[in-house]
């Protein structure tokens, strides 16, 4: 088993945190091997943010750090969807933030189109936890990692004052 995961969006959307929490949860709370890499533009907000994860059940299959054909993707913005859709393979499970994505390419993907940012603002009072809403959706639909593991990682990663709202955002799709 070998899975490539692509997480992409604009700087400021919490892409790196999302990728880090997912990667860490896979490393610590599954028996899978994982390699991951991050790309981010020099500017803090607005540029490209991207996390690539290669996950496998055998060590030699966790063999690369860049996505060549993603099996699972979260894309939080139209700009990155346009830029990276060629890296997402047919049959992939793709989670798109409808709040920032207006045009979905005609591909053989299994698309989940949900307004993660709007949900975050409406339900949790801040767009900053849109990443966790999307992560919860991914975890629910793919069963890649146990949700409790992700919550454990959120607790050890996110600043104290933000743990609660992040976990609630993460649970949004899991509890539906």
């Amino acid at each position: 088993m070998r899975i490539e995961v692509l997480i992409a969006g604009r700087g400021g959307q919490g892409i790196l945190l999302l990728g880090h929490i997912l990667g860490r949860a896979v490393a610590k709370y599954t028996n899978l091997y994982i390699l991951g890499s991050e790309i981010y533009a020099a500017e803090t907000r607005g540029g490209d943010s991207r996390v690539d994860l290669v996950i496998a059940d055998r060590e030699e299959e966790a063999d690369f750090i860049k996505v060549m054909g993603a099996d699972i993707a979260i894309v939080m913005h139209q700009l990155q969807l346009d830029a990276y859709s060629h890296l997402i393979k047919d049959g992939a499970v793709v989670f798109l933030d409808r709040s920032n994505v207006t045009s979905v390419p005609q591909r053989k993907w299994r698309v989940f189109l949900e307004p993660y940012t709007d949900i975050a603002e409406r339900e949790f009072g801040t767009p900053r936890v849109a990443n966790m809403v999307a992560l919860g959706h991914l975890v629910r639909q793919t069963s890649l990692v146990p949700p409790e593991g992700v919550e454990e990682v959120i607790r050890e990663t996110v600043p104290k004052d933000w743990v609660d709202v992040n976990i609630r955002a993460f649970r949004y799709f899991l509890s539906r």
């Binding site: 890499s37 063999d63 690369f64």
Partner: protein
């Protein structure tokens, strides 16, 4: 023991703690500074010291000094800083000082692209110093290997009383991975041999029956001599050919004759291999995928990842590649380590696949180049 998800750089810092690091001397340089920053937070908690020096020259010399005070010492740098360190590493060679230098390669020459990767300095890592002797060079490709090989680098350094270069690169530095982290006491740790004779009988460069002399430290009453000049077993300057010969051959032999023990590699898809893609460091991830692609296209390709680059274990490499039709040496430079292997594998067909990329060579590109020769 615990499982963590960390970068190659953090894995190196964690590995150094597990191996018993007590002194880190550093100078900030991309892409190594997070090793420094991690240790600055963590090492003092364990009684160690982390000090930022005025330049890389001071850092390596301070690390050598601390090692002579019996503290396991390390510094980390990249090309520009390593270039400043080589004079002192030559000192560490002749004074037989255990010290670990983490060399995180970045795009060069000169300032190049400081944040991006490459393998341009693979030969400098061992041939960079004056004096013409070899120091062990270990090359991890993943965060787990970065952790494991850091521990090994310390052990080799202590056992052979030699500087050891841990050769990483900017890609590995920032790659995250699942790492089994062991704490001090959970890994095998080698300590340098101490003298068994009283101080008045101690000769700091007398190897006895073996090739590595026991090492007394400053402050132990042994009146040690750290001598950069050609010296006899007492550490006395002796500008004589017989002394120079004895010293040079011992320093040479203690490393080169350890080659079988130091030899370390990873291999995949070896079954019936006729096309070997040999690589090291981050590029071996590219070749691992390339070999898989070639297999899927019907070629009997395998991937070999060398974790020990120097000393070159010629016998071992020949045995490993015995019977393989073609050997491709894939690296992110103009084809440097290829020169080493070409010499070792005389008689086999050895092809250089130099692919220069600011990040990792794309596996597809490796496949295309290799197929031109098949």
């Amino acid at each position: 023991m615990r499982v963590d998800y960390v970068t190659g750089n953090t894995a190196i810092a964690l590995g150094s703690i597990a191996a018993g690091l007590r002194f880190y001397a550093g100078y900030p340089i991309t892409p190594t500074s997070d090793i420094f920053e991690f240790l600055a937070r963590e090492l003092p908690k364990r009684g160690g010291y982390v000090v930022q020096f005025e330049d890389e020259i001071a850092s390596i010399n301070a690390a050598i000094g601390a090692s002579w005070a019996c503290a396991k010492s390390m510094t980390a740098t990249s090309g520009p800083g390593f270039s400043l360190m080589v004079e002192a590493l030559s000192l560490a060679v002749i004074t037989e000082t255990p010290v670990v230098v983490v060399y995180v390669m970045r795009t060069g020459p000169s300032t190049g692209v400081p944040t991006r990767s490459g393998q341009y300095d693979v030969l400098q890592a061992t041939y960079g110093f004056h004096g013409g002797l070899v120091v062990p060079v270990l090359a991890p490709a993943t965060p787990q290997e970065a952790f494991d090989l850091t521990v090994r680098a310390f052990n080799v350094s202590e056992k052979l009383r030699t500087p050891v270069v841990l050769l990483s690169d900017a890609t590995i530095a920032h790659t995250y991975g699942r790492v089994v982290v062991r704490e001090p006491g959970e890994v095998e740790v080698v300590e340098r041999a101490k003298p068994s004779v009283p101080p008045e009988k101690y000769r700091p460069y007398d190897p006895g029956e073996g090739l590595v002399p026991p090492m007394a430290c400053f402050g132990e009453g042994y009146n040690v001599l750290v001598e950069s000049l050609t010296h006899d077993e007492r550490g006395y300057y002796a500008p004589r050919s017989d002394v120079q010969r004895r010293l040079m051959w011992r320093l040479y032999r203690k490393i080169v004759e350890s080659a079988p023990e130091l030899f370390d590699y990873g291999a995949a898809y070896l079954d019936g291999c006729d096309v070997a893609l040999v690589s090291y460091g981050s590029t071996s991830l590219s070749t691992l995928v390339a070999a898989k692609i070639l297999r899927s296209e019907g070629y009997r390709a395998c991937s070999i990842r060398l974790r020990t680059l120097f000393p070159v274990y010629e016998e071992g490499i020949r045995r490993l590649l015995n019977g393989v039709g073609k050997v491709f040496v894939v690296e992110n430079n103009v084809g440097l380590y290829y020169r080493e292997l070409r010499g070792v594998l005389r008689g086999s067909e050895v092809v250089s696949v130099p692919i220069i990329d600011l990040d990792l060579p794309q596996p597809r590109e490796v496949v295309e180049v290799v197929k031109q020769w098949l």
